[in-house]
């Protein structure tokens, strides 16, 4: 049985249907990449997983238990944490306060403020600085650290490379092996296909709200990915 499973997941924004019967699974300790063009439904999918958008209960399962109707704040307690698109750090709180709020649910685990500073040493040098004045890369590191403070079993990362310099993206992706070292499952949504497929055990490509391709990155050809990504006929 997979740790996280989706079966026939639909999602709507009022009358507009954003996801059509998405089925996907992630096993314990696995890194799953969700790729796709702008507007393919990737972020909608992650928001649904995190509980920011409600869905039919049985369409989302964690360890076989239906959780589709659980609100976001309860899913954090169950071990699902999201690094949201656009970082969304709390601007008026300091770096350390952001991290401490990340641990609000007091879920036991290996992550604490000290461990996050070990993972991102730069954050440790600016603990009292308001998050609003950090650079984009620092804010992204803070957003990842804040999500880790919830000690998640499943970490969801939404476009962490967005708007950042390649060297910063490389540094952030460099932290991923340490994050998944204890068996944490990682679901990465990215437009940067190279980065995402470089770390993933399994990949799903979204096209107009549907899964257009899935498989192990090493087994997918460039042509297959290009066709699934842009909706071209192979």
């Amino acid at each position: 049985m997979s740790m996280l499973e989706f079966e026939g997941l639909d999602q709507f924004y009022r009358d507009f249907q954003a996801l059509f019967g998405v089925s996907l699974r992630a096993d314990e300790g696995e890194i799953v990449a969700v790729i796709g063009a702008n507007g393919a439904g990737k972020s909608t999918f992650l928001k649904t997983v995190a509980g920011l958008l409600p869905s039919a209960p049985s369409t989302v399962r964690l360890d076989g238990e239906p959780i589709g109707d659980r609100p976001a704040y309860r899913r954090v307690g169950m071990g699902i944490a999201l690094v949201p698109e656009g970082r969304r750090v709390f601007p008026s709180l300091s770096v350390e306060e952001n991290l401490r709020v990340g641990g609000f649910g007091k879920r036991p685990g290996r992550w604490n403020v000290g461990r996050v500073y070990e993972l991102f040493p730069l954050l440790g040098t600016m603990t009292g600085r308001p998050a609003a004045v950090l650079s984009g890369g620092e804010q992204q590191a803070l957003a990842i650290g804040r999500a880790l403070m919830a000690n998640p079993r499943v970490l969801l990362m939404d476009e962490i490379s967005l708007g950042l310099a390649p060297i910063v993206v490389k540094q952030l992706y460099g932290a991923i092996p340490a994050i998944v070292a204890d068996g944490t499952t990682l679901v990465v949504v990215e437009q940067d296909i190279t980065q995402a497929l470089g770390i993933a055990h399994r990949a799903y490509c979204f096209l107009e709200g549907r899964v257009s391709l899935h498989g192990r990155p090493g087994e997918l050809t460039r042509e297959q990915i290009r066709a699934a990504y842009f909706g071209l006929t192979p």
């Binding site: 995190a50 509980g51 920011l52 609100p71 976001a72 704040y73 309860r74 954090v76 307690g77 944490a81 999201l82 949201p84 969304r88 750090v89 709390f90 601007p91 008026s92 709180l93 306060e97 952001n98 401490r100 709020v101 990340g102 609000f104 649910g105 879920r107 609003a132 804040r146 999500a147 919830a150």
Partner: protein
């Protein structure tokens, strides 16, 4: 020396105004909601104290032990059962609901207690004073009210800065959506904030009742004073609220020194002057004016 005395009395009065305003400021800071029923709830607390005093026979200041938790509970239930459902659909729904609530409570108070003015007798503390100079004396009661206001503001500031719940309130104020991703149940958190707001309003209401007379229709005047103190001090700033209350209090007592009829008018004029010169208030928190 009469002017110095007017300023000192204005500072003391400002303490009471900042108590009115703190709850209003707290709710605006956390939820971006202006609670138009805040003044009426302050008056409700004074009437609750009156009921406690008349039935149990305790000093009104002792009645705070009952009134403040009761006001917290009213605030919590009100938020969970009503105000939470108005959030997220623009600024108008919470304004309309709290305005309607103010009208309903005001009329219930009129029906139950009539339009007569009432007062709470706290005993000797109302009549004794401390003499600062030959010309300036401060009553123990106004001084106590001012110190209570400062104490509550210091406590609130520590609560926001040092406790996990306080940080969660600030985080929710910054971004309610992201706060949910931190395991924060924003509906519960908003309800606790409303509870704290009305509990402080409860303290303000009882102290108002001890300091002066009150009636069921006084809530709207209190709301205006609270609103002016918040605007003068700056939206979302706790310490700005104290300064706003003090500025308003001094303006009123100096106005009254010029002519008794200028008491309220001078306060309104200072409020308008601050709005014209510095629309975000003297100590606006970054982003609060958006």
């Amino acid at each position: 020396m009469t002017w110095v005395n007017a300023v000192v009395q204005g500072i003391m009065l400002g303490g009471l105004y900042s108590l009115f305003a703190t709850g209003l400021s707290l709710i605006f800071g956390v939820m971006r909601v202006v609670n138009l029923a805040h003044g009426v709830f302050t008056i409700l607390a004074a009437f609750l104290a009156l009921v406690v005093v008349e039935h149990i026979g305790v000093n009104p200041l002792v009645a705070l032990v009952i009134v403040v938790p009761l006001m917290f509970a009213i605030g919590y239930v009100l938020q969970r059962s009503l105000v939470n459902f108005t959030l997220g659909a623009g600024v108008l729904p919470p304004l309309l609901v709290t305005f309607g609530l103010a009208v309903v409570i005001e009329n219930i108070l009129l029906k139950v207690f009539s339009a007569d003015s009432r007062g709470l007798d706290a005993g000797r503390i109302e009549n004794i004073s401390v003499r600062l100079t030959d010309w300036v004396a401060v009553g123990w009661l106004p001084l106590t009210i001012f110190l209570v206001a400062v104490f509550l503001l210091v406590t609130l500031q520590l609560f926001f800065d040092r406790t996990m719940f306080g940080r969660a309130l600030r985080a929710t104020s910054d971004d309610p959506g992201a706060a949910q991703l931190m395991a924060i149940d924003t509906r519960h958190l908003y309800a606790v904030a409303m509870g704290i707001s009305l509990a402080i309003g409860g303290v303000a209401g009882v102290l108002l009742g001890v300091r002066t007379t009150f009636g069921p229709l006084d809530g709207s005047v209190l709301l205006i004073f609270a609103f002016e103190a918040v605007i003068i001090g700056g939206l979302g700033s706790m310490w700005g609220t104290l300064v706003g209350g003090v500025v308003l209090g001094i303006a009123q007592t100096i106005g009254a020194q010029l002519s008794p009829g200028w008491f309220q008018l001078s306060g309104h004029l200072v409020f308008l002057a601050v709005l014209a010169v510095r629309p975000t208030g003297l100590f606006a928190r970054a982003g609060a004016s958006e």
